[in-house]
């Protein structure tokens, strides 16, 4: 279980993380989504005991990151967003080194390493030098490395970044397997749909603050009060703009590039939406089509990180 309490990190006047509070239950997969620089890696670095917080604290399986960093390190498997590998080490030697670093006996390491290589589909590469592996293979090997001491909590910072579509799918499959193994996983990405499929809960972080938290369905539902509507017109675009601008439930009105459509956010019920269309027609606005655009996950993410405080 991970519990983050008022975690703050400041660099001079810049606040990278602003009073973050979070609770991730044992065995659940939490997706941390945010743009680059939103505070994801800062949070992960603090949880991995690589960065000290300015204030606040966090607990991993009951161990305090500030007071018991050594115990925390034995509980977590950490995979950073950018990492290097040692030249001239073979894949199995790479895992062997980290196994020894965690104090795992040689006989145990001998049994573990083939299993881990199999888990990440790298058995055929065990005698290959790590620096000649492809990026996807290195990512998988690093994931295997983070599992070598059988941690209960996995902290994975953008594990699929920079991978080709096939490698992404492979990585996703491995993570699903880890989820089935009952690991508590904290995973980050700046791409929401990438996480949606495998995460139980998603947190959206923007400018160091958690702006939304819940299941993907919950987050989408919260935004459903605001619908994105597109209206196609036959002439009289200026008249339509004036009309819609005067409507209290309409916001963020935009003229589309085609010169004949308008797009706006509508914050009302379905009945109010019908009334709006009726009113527009009664004002002789020549509407050809009037439809709601289905918001996908990317739209949700874009909408939330625009500054809408939801939580």
């Amino acid at each position: 279980m991970i519990e983050i309490i008022d975690l703050t990190k400041r660099y001079g006047k810049f606040t990278a993380l602003d009073s973050l509070n979070l609770k991730i239950e044992k065995g659940s997969v939490f997706g941390f989504v945010g743009q680059n620089g939103a505070g994801k890696s800062t949070t992960f670095s603090i949880l991995a005991t690589l960065l000290s917080p300015s204030s606040g604290t966090a607990y991993i399986n009951g161990y305090n990151i500030s007071k018991e960093p050594k115990a925390v390190r034995s509980q977590i498997g950490y995979m950073p967003d950018f990492f290097g590998v040692y030249d001239q080490l073979k894949a199995d030697e790479y895992l062997n080194f980290y196994g020894a670093s965690y104090g795992i006996s040689q006989s145990e390491r001998k049994k573990l390493i083939p299993q881990l290589l199999e888990l990440v589909n790298l058995t055929h590469k065990q005698d290959s030098y790590v620096d000649v592996l492809s990026r996807g293979m290195k990512q998988r090997l690093c994931l295997a490395r983070s599992l070598i001491h059988d941690p209960e909590v996995l902290i994975l910072d953008e594990p699929a970044s920079g991978l080709d579509p096939r490698a992404r799918v492979e990585m996703r499959e491995i993570l699903k397997e880890l989820k089935n193994m009952g690991k508590t996983i904290l995973i980050s990405s700046h791409i929401l749909p990438e996480l949606a499929e495998m995460c139980d809960v998603i947190g959206i972080i923007d400018q160091g603050k958690l702006v939304a938290e819940g299941s993907v369905a919950e987050i989408q539902k919260r935004l459903q009060g605001e619908k994105l509507i597109i209206a196609k017109l036959y002439r009289e675009l200026d008249k339509a703009v004036n009309f819609f601008e005067d409507q209290p439930l309409v916001s963020q009105l935009v003229r589309k590039d085609d010169g004949e459509s308008l797009q706006f956010m509508f914050n009302g019920t379905i009945e109010e939406q019908v009334q709006l269309l009726k009113a527009a027609l009664s004002h002789d606005i020549p509407i050809v089509s009037f439809s709601e655009i289905e918001t996908n996950l990317e739209d949700v993410f874009m909408e939330i990180t625009k500054g809408v405080e939801l939580s």
Binding site: T8, R10, S19, S45, A48, T49, L50, L51, S52, P53, S54, S55, G56, T57, I65, S66, K67, P69, K70, R73, S74, I76, Y78, P80, F82, F83, G84, V85, Y86, D87, Q88, L89, E93, F97, Y98, A100, S101, Y102, G103, C142, R145, H149
Partner: protein, 282 residues
């Protein structure tokens, strides 16, 4: 001690450093160069001798020449080997992963230090049979050779600790390297220069019983090496510079260098990982 030699960092670094053909080649070239110097020295001396003999005092001069060459090599190579060991890992983005393992900071720092200077130690130890040629001609006792070897290892560890200190504190390898070479230059050329200046001040009679030259000699590894090679001449120097301090310079050097070593290592260990304690309440 057992833990130190079961150190994963040490094992890994040994594997990486010694498995490459370049290491073997480097060692071979070094021993070849040393052999050429010795054979050349003996050849020149016997050619210049009317009887074609190589006398014990010439053997001692050869040993001294080799000893200063090796010391120069140690002072030149050690900063280069050690000043990048932590900052280099940071730049290669391998340090973060290493720091999240269960290995203690002490184990990482000592493992890194010993592994980085191990190749230099191997070079020095491998050159010992070549050194032993002096025993054929006399002039040097096995005890002196042993003392010199011990002092080399000590010097490597002390200057290595200065390298690892800067490597831990400074993020960029190049800056760590320049800083380490700067300190090495101060402890060699700098202290020699300051010794000369303070001695000349003493001789001019401006000050009396001034012990400052003693402290500069104490910090200079080349002068201490000279003391091991020429104990009589060094005693004379010691009595001139001591100005009332009746303590062997070599012992003062060992104590001061041990203190420097311990300070460098302790700070490196403490600074390797961040202090996770919250510094201020936000």
């Amino acid at each position: 001690m057992r833990n130190l030699f079961l150190n994963p960092v040490l094992n890994k670094e040994f594997k990486l450093r010694f498995r490459s053909f370049k290491s073997f080649l480097g060692l071979s070239f070094y021993l070849l160069a040393l052999s050429i110097i010795i054979i050349g020295f003996i050849y020149i001396q016997t050619q210049n001798s009317p009887m074609g003999l190589f006398r014990p005092e010439q053997s001692k001069s050869m040993f001294m020449l080799l000893s200063f060459i090796q010391m120069g090599l140690i002072l030149f190579i050690t900063p280069g080997l050690t000043a990048g060991i932590i900052s280099g890992e940071r730049e290669k983005q391998t340090l973060n992963i290493l720091l999240t393992t269960n290995q203690s900071s002490t184990s990482i720092i000592l493992g890194k230090l010993i592994s980085s200077v191990s190749f230099l130690l191997l070079m020095i130890i491998a050159s010992m049979p070549i050194y032993s040629i002096v025993f054929l001609f006399g002039g040097i006792s096995p005890g002196q050779v042993g003392t010199i070897l011990g002092y080399y290892i000590f010097t490597i560890l002390v200057f290595g600790s200065i390298g690892i200190f800067f490597s831990t504190l400074v993020r960029r390898t190049i800056i760590a390297m320049v800083s380490t070479y700067g300190v090495t230059l101060f402890l060699t050329a700098g202290t020699a220069f300051l010794f000369a200046v303070t001695m000349s001040v003493n001789q001019m009679g401006i000050t009396s019983n001034n012990p400052i030259p003693y402290f500069f000699v104490m910090l200079n590894p080349i002068m201490i090496l000279f003391g091991f090679l020429e104990p009589d001449a060094f005693r004379e120097l010691s009595s001139q510079t001591g100005m009332g301090i009746d303590f062997p310079l070599w012992a003062a050097n060992l104590i001061s260098y041990t203190i420097i070593f311990l300070i460098m290592i302790v700070i490196s260990i403490r600074k390797l990982r961040p202090n996770m304690k919250v510094k201020s309440k936000g």
